[in-house]
Symmetry: C2
Subunit: 375 residues, 2 copies
């Protein structure tokens, strides 16, 4: 008996013919998560709970894992597949028995028509190169990656990189989503940004939404993606304020000026970006949670406490157990864009964060310069 | 020799004729601060540093103090005038020798043409009644008070109450301004909201601005004032989330939904309210600082930790040493407005905060109901 479909049939859904019964094959979507850090693993957990529940998806969720050998000699993928836990990045959290870790990138994506990209952004160009010609037609993608690539011709968002390199449509999902909190099922919201096709956006919403993870869609890919990307730069600034023990008013002021720069930068690059996007979870809420508890804030606080005498690379290696800090590299990329376009003076928070992070200014400059520049 | 004027002459400036020389009297503005809690005292300190420096103001800043007898038998005003400190509300902070504490309200305002109102909002109706006919013509007012009066005919903002009762123009000043941080000169921003006269707004900006207190003016009295008022309700919600230890994503989500309700409520009451106001210090920044460190958040956290078994009145008396909690009474006033207009269902955060605070719902309802209602 064919299971009831929970969602309207989609034009782009790809038939997947491994039914063993005589019944008419149902167009089921198959999902692969490309990436398995803490956010990737938690995303796989969210998705896997829904593919079990919703008849329009294949139960199995494949997760591409950058293979590592653990201290006990076992392969990370073997441990994930045996225990259903990513013991390295989210220990103690069951991802679901239908999550299958796969160390082979091409194999992991070959049968899927919904690809979820969630790796550190600096790896995406290499991953895309390896996937060219390897993903099927009519595949849909979504990027959970914060960051951008700066090229000679200007900045390139990760969703654009994916779209251009692989020739597929790419949405984004961003929001107030500290992974470790979602892992233990504390309530969060998120925002899906889409370009034109509302139905695809709704399908992503459906794939991610759980009782503790509420997702809404807005038609503003660039706005949503730039929120997720740029907020990490503001979080570095907020971390400096924390490290300098300047108090909540100052932190709120720097966050506010930072939010204004996020909005201005996004709209100067993409005039289609909407103000209302900054009131969504991907905007003000993500900024808040990242500036309260995220890793960029935490390492920047340590940087300021050490008066800039220990580098971000050193602190990152010591404090983050292999996770990557996005804010510092994004600040450098934003600085390149601003410098190239002659906009540095209009973005004192962004500019000052970069100049502090490379040691050109002391951490205390974050207030002095951000405030002077913003008047 | 007439001192150089730092500001353009103002049409409404009142001549003040106590010059003892033969020179032409300069139109100097004289300032009275009505209120002397911690924010009132810190406001007097900011203002007093500027009246010393700027020739367009009389040096003396009068501060009306609700007289109290201290445990050692001395009058509070006597101690302030002897030590230049408000030993009760901001001990250890010099307000400036040109701040004169005055226990007599009518005397305190009689020579002034710039009145700064900064009392708990529930006292303002009584204060206005006492001042009717006692303030001179051409007097300008500014309100730093958060809250509103709910009357049969609808809500009445404090700035409107002052304008109507005293027949004078009234601006507002709101922002990310936890008083104790400004007292020790940590950097903050604030927003002046004005109705029509930009020059008056600029004069208030000049009176309050210091190197560590940056003020900007926007033409949106209601928007600025409602931001300052309503954020206290959201802070109560944020405090509940803290008390329940639900994490930063959840807190950010509730703050975001709360901000959206602030915007919607303000625009439904006053269609002239601007979206951009919510990006000013009075908007997102004040919301952030209040939800990170303010007294509403703190007492609400304690309320949730006690599972609502100890009332807000009891916790306020124990935790705030005589300061008043604005969020709970504002929540009740907002609830009355929403209830009267049939809007309760559109404002789940505001509604739920009130129902928790009166014991009708448990603190844990803050997420369950706010989220359900917002979908």
């Amino acid at each position: 008996m064919a299971p009831a479909l929970d969602v309207p049939e989609e034009e782009t859904a790809v038939p997947f013919n491994n039914t063993t019964s005589d019944e008419v094959a149902i167009s089921k979507s198959k999902v692969t998560v490309v990436g398995s850090g803490n956010w990737g693993s938690v995303a796989a957990k969210l998705i896997a709970s829904n593919t079990l529940r919703l008849a329009s998806f294949h139960e199995e969720v494949r997760m591409w894992v950058y293979e590592e050998t653990l201290p006990n000699g076992e392969k990370l993928t073997d441990v994930i597949n045996r225990t259903n836990e990513n013991v390295k990045y989210v220990p103690g959290i069951k991802l679901g028995k239908n999550v299958v870790a796969d160390p082979d990138l091409e194999n992991a994506v070959k049968d899927s028509n919904m690809l979820v990209f969630v790796t550190p952004h600096q790896f995406m160009e290499g991953i895309c190169r390896r996937l060219v010609g390897k993903v099927k037609g009519h595949v849909e993608a979504i990027s959970l990656i914060k960051g951008m690539e700066v090229k000679m011709e200007g900045p390139c968002m990760i969703s654009t990189l994916i779209s251009q390199q692989l020739g597929i449509n790419c949405c984004v999902l961003m929001g107030a989503n500290i992974a470790n909190e979602i892992a233990v099922e504390k309530f969060s919201e998120a925002t899906v940004g889409y370009r034109e096709n509302r139905e695809i956006a709704e399908k992503w919403v459906q794939l991610f939404t759980t009782p503790y993870f509420m997702v809404t869609a807005v038609q503003d890919v660039e706005g949503v993606e730039l929120c997720g990307t740029l907020k990490n730069v503001v979080a570095i600034a907020a971390g400096f304020v924390d490290g300098l023990e300047m108090g909540n008013n100052t932190k709120a002021a720097i966050m506010r000026i930072g939010l204004r720069e996020m909005k201005a930068f996004s709209k100067m690059l993409f005039p289609s970006v909407k103000d209302s996007t900054f009131f969504e979870s991907c905007g003000v809420a993500d900024l808040i949670t990242t500036c309260l508890g995220g890793r960029n804030r935490k390492v920047a606080e340590a940087f300021a406490k050490n008066e800039g005498k220990r580098s971000f690379d050193e602190l990152e290696a010591e404090m983050l157990q292999g996770q990557k800090l996005q804010g510092v590299s994004t600040a450098r990329e934003v600085y390149e864009v601003l410098s190239h376009r002659g906009w540095l003076e209009f973005f004192p928070v962004f500019t000052t964060v970069h100049e502090i992070s490379i040691g050109r200014l002391p951490p205390s400059a974050i207030v002095r310069f951000s405030v002077e520049g913003s008047t």
